[in-house]
Amino acid sequence: MELLVVSIFAGLWYWICKTDIGYAITHAIRQPLFAALPIGLIMGDVKQAMIIGAAVQILYIGLVAAGSNLPADDCLAGLIAIPIAIGSGLTPALAVAIAVPVGVMGVFVDQLRKTVNVIFVHMADRYAEEGNTRKIVLASVVYPTALSFFFRFPIPFFAILYGADAVNSFMNSIPEWLVHGFSVAGGLLPALGFALTMFVIGKKELFPWFVIGYFLVQFSGIPVIGAAIFGLCAVLLITYYNNNKKNLEV
C-alpha cells in the first residue's frame, strides 16, 4: 500500500516537475533533496530519506545545462533511487548506484519530449495565421503538458512498483567488490559535475582560484558555507579595488 502511494506520488511529481513550469521553481523542487522530504513523509522515515536525498543530490550539484540540454535527469534519479533505497534499507552509496543509470535514462525521455513538441510549434504557426491567441496558449502550455503525462508518469510509477523487489534481490546477490565499486563511483562522480562547471565558466586565467578554494578547505576543513563567505568577500574586495584603480587612473 505504502509502495503504491509512493509510486503514484513519484509518477505525478516527475510529470509536474518535468513540465518545467516556472523555470528554476521546478528545477528546485525536482531535486532529489527536495523530493526526499515528501517521500520520507509517505514512507515514514524522514531522517533516512534526507540523508539519502543529500547523498544523491551531491551527484547533481555541479550539473550545468549547456545549451539547455541537461546531461542527466536529476529528478528521475532521485524519485526512483530514494524510495527503493529506503524500502530496501540500502546505504546512501548504493542509492547513488541506482541513481546514476536512472539519471542517464531520463535524458532520453527529455530528448523525446523536445522532438515531439515540434508538433505544437507547427500548430502554433497555423493558429498565428488565424490570429487565434487562445489556441496559441493551448499549443504552447496545455498540449505539451498533457502529452508529457503519458511518457513521464509511467516511468517512476512502474520502476518503483515493480523494480523495488528486483533491485532488492539484485543488491543482495552482488559481490562485495561490486558494492565497493559503486561507492567509489559515488565518490568520483561529483568530480564530473565540478569539472563540467569549470569548463562552462571557461576562464583559464582565473584557475588559481580553484586551487585556492580546494586547498583552503583541504587544509582548514571549514564547511562549505564558510568557504562561500570567504570567497564572496574576496570577490567583492577585488571588484572594489579594481574599480577604485580605474577611477584613480581617470
Binding site: 528554476a24 533533496l33 543530490q57 550539484i61 542517464v104 561529483p190 576562464k203 567583492l236 577585488i238
Partner: protein
C-alpha cells in the same frame, strides 16, 4: 520625467497604456512558461510568444497586425530566462513604437532578439547556473546530510533570487532600450559582474571538490618481515592532502577541454573505472 508621465506619453497614439506592471507580468509569464513547450526546432519560441500575447493585444487592435505580430515572435528564440529578461522589455518597447507607427521592421525586432539572446544567455548561464546554483544546492545538501529537513527549503533560494533579478532587469530593458543594452554589454560593469561570478564560481568549485569528491587507495606493499608496510595513501597524504580527488577533477576538466563533452559516456567510463579499480584493489 516621472514614470506615469512616460507611460502616458507612450500610450497616446493607440489609446492603450503599456505600464511597467505589464512588463513585469510579461516577464513573469515568460519565466513560468518558457520551457513548457520547448522543442528542438524553435526552443523557447512558444513560451516567448505566449508571454507577449497580452501586450500585443493592448497594442494591436487590427487583426491583421495581430497576426503579423504573432508570426514575428514564433521564430527561434532561446536565452537564459533571468539575465535574458531585458530582451522582453526591449521587445515591448519596440512593439510599442511600431504600434505608434514608427518605421520598425520585423527584421529589426527579430534581429535584436537574436543578437542579444546569445550574449545574455552566456552571462546568465555563468551567473545563475554555474555560480549561484552549485553554491545554493551544495549548502542545501550539506545542511541535510545528517537528516535535517532544512535543505529542501534552501533550494528555493534559487528561484527566489532569479525572480527578483528578472523583474528588475526586464523593466530596465524597457526603459533603456536596445542601444543602452548593447552599451552595457560592452561596458565594464557587465565584465566586472561576469569576472566576479566566474571567480567565485571557480573558488567554490575548488571548495566543493575538496568536500565532495572522494578517492583514496587501499594499496600497500610489504617488504618482508619486520619492515613497516608501505602504505601508498599515507605517502600521498604526506606529499599533499587530497591529491587523488584533485587529480580526478583536473583530469576530467582536461578531458572535457581536449577530448569530448559527452557527459553520459564520461559518466559510464567513471563507473567502469571505479568498478575495475574496486575489483583489482586499487581503489
Amino acid at each position: 520625467m516621472t514614470e506615469t508621465q512616460k507611460t502616458a506619453e507612450a500610450g497616446t497614439e493607440t489609446g492603450k497604456l503599456i505600464t511597467e506592471k505589464d512588463i513585469r507580468r510579461n516577464w513573469l509569464t515568460y519565466y513560468m512558461v518558457a520551457e513548457m513547450g520547448i522543442s528542438y526546432e524553435r526552443l523557447q519560441a512558444l513560451g516567448f510568444t505566449t508571454a507577449m500575447i497580452p501586450v500585443l493585444k493592448k497594442l494591436y487592435s487590427d487583426p491583421e497586425d495581430m497576426k503579423e505580430a504573432l508570426k514575428r515572435h514564433l521564430v527561434f528564440y532561446n536565452t537564459e530566462a533571468v539575465f535574458g529578461s531585458p530582451v522582453n522589455g526591449i521587445v515591448i518597447a519596440m512593439e510599442e513604437q511600431k504600434a505608434k507607427g514608427e518605421p520598425i521592421t520585423d527584421k529589426s525586432i527579430t534581429g535584436m532578439k537574436t543578437g542579444l539572446m546569445g550574449p545574455l544567455a552566456g552571462i546568465g548561464d555563468s551567473i545563475d547556473w554555474a555560480t549561484l546554483k552549485p553554491i545554493i544546492f551544495a549548502l542545501a545538501a550539506t545542511l541535510s546530510a545528517t537528516g535535517s529537513i532544512i535543505g529542501p527549503f534552501v533550494l528555493l533560494l534559487l528561484p527566489l533570487i532569479q525572480i527578483m533579478i528578472g523583474l528588475r532587469l526586464s523593466v530596465y530593458g524597457y526603459r533603456t532600450g536596445k542601444a543602452s543594452i548593447r552599451e552595457l554589454l560592452h561596458s565594464g560593469r557587465i565584465k566586472d559582474l561576469i569576472v566576479g561570478a566566474s571567480t567565485l564560481g571557480l573558488f567554490m568549485m575548488g571548495a566543493l571538490s575538496s568536500t565532495y569528491v572522494k578517492l583514496s587507495t587501499p594499496l600497500q606493499f610489504d617488504f618482508g618481515n619486520g619492515n613497516e608496510p608501505f602504505v601508498v595513501q599515507n605517502i600521498l597524504d604526506g606529499i599533499i592532502p587530497g591529491l587523488l580527488p584533485l587529480l580526478a577533477v583536473l583530469g576530467l576538466y582536461w578531458w572535457l577541454n581536449k577530448k569530448s563533452q559527452n557527459f553520459t559516456v564520461i559518466m559510464l567510463i567513471i563507473i567502469a573505472v571505479s568498478i575495475i579499480g574496486a575489483f583489482t584493489g586499487i581503489f
